[in-house]
Amino acid sequence: MKRISTTIAFVLMLAAGLAGGIALTWAVLDRWLAPGMTRHGRWVAWMKAGAPDADPYSLASMARRGEIPMTPSEGLAFFASRDDGGSELDAACHYEIAGAFPPARAWTLTIYTPDGRVRRGPSGRSGFTSAEALSDGSRVAIQLSAAPQPGNWIPLAAGGRMVAALRLYDTPLSAETAAPGAGRLPSIRRVTCP
């Protein structure tokens, strides 16, 4: 009798360990905040993913999503899946991404679905580049909304979660020296939400 219960406990231990390990891995790889990432306000960046000495977590994340990371010699890429208030970005809402964009030879702002496809609204635009966006001095304001907006407008189609990506090409900022503080990246403000 005792031997049977020991065997059962042993099998349970193996099963629990296996299930726990898989669940833990899934949770880590699925989050927008994993080891190997740095946070700047609501924006997160895999600073090391594109470096030759990338850590295993960054590599696994990139592999799972099938993504090619931005390399440090190209620039920096930041992703945001939540607004400044901490709620998940929802294509049914109206957001304003605004602020002084960090110095770079060029930047692009793109809106993705959570699995990395571009969300295109009726007008076909899914983002802005630094050459396209109208700016007020160094300040740029971009409206994300289903309803037409004056100025820089990215039309949102249908509802659902979304991810914003800000890429700075050839930027003097680097992972080691001048990781931008939260105040230096544009804010993501929710204007209205039905």
Binding site: M13, G17, G20, L29, P56
Partner: protein, 188 residues
């Protein structure tokens, strides 16, 4: 009584945790090797070796990207290289816009990355070679002339070179596509 039972279960609980930790680490380390979905693996699937291919990226208005979370403003070309029969030469013309060349191992790890800032006379002339081939190249170098190529050491005999150039406006896209169309990737 309950404490007794807990005490007997403790080794099994600790065992579960240890196994979970090991399983987690093993999966993390294996994902890039096993996931046939790494961008490098997917981009090179079925592509002929040592030939540059311009990725369409879909017509304007479509939501096709060459790989997940790709920058839609980028025009992308890829070359699956195979160094088993000799070094591979990449020639990429550059213009005023941002352009980068990233060399990936099959598991997705970035080996080399450079931008148009490394170009001389509006061209990036790159030679990809294994350490052995590099030594051979160096032994053949004339002593009185500087080497014109950027020589990159490939620790793997195969991989993918991804060339991306930024089209800041849709109107610039055809010109950038033509620019990358003039790039080449071939056995040296």
């Amino acid at each position: 009584m309950i404490r007794d039972r807990l005490f007997r279960l403790l080794p099994f609980l600790l065992g579960s945790l240890a196994i979970a930790g090991i399983v987690h680490l093993v999966i993390i380390l294996l994902v890039p090797a096993v996931a046939g979905s790494t961008a490098a693996a997917r981009l090179s699937a079925g592509a002929p070796a040592n030939r540059l291919e311009l990725l369409a990226g879909g017509p304007p208005g479509s939501s096709e990207l060459p790989f997940p979370f790709a920058d839609p403003a980028m025009v992308t070309a890829v070359c699956r290289f195979d160094l088993s029969e000799g070094p591979v030469r990449l020639r990429v013309p550059t213009a005023d816009g941002f352009l980068s060349v990233v060399v990936l191992r099959p598991d997705g790890r970035v080996q080399h990355a450079l931008t148009d800032r490394a170009a001389t006379r509006r061209q990036l002339a790159i030679v990809l070679a294994t350490p052995q081939q590099l030594r051979q190249l160096e032994s053949l170098d004339p002593d009185d002339q500087p080497v014109q190529d950027l020589r990159l050491r490939a620790s793997h005999p195969g991989g993918v070179a991804v060339i991306r150039s930024l089209a800041q406006r849709d109107a610039e896209r055809p010109a950038i596509q033509a620019l990358l169309g003039r790039a080449s990737c071939q056995q040296d």
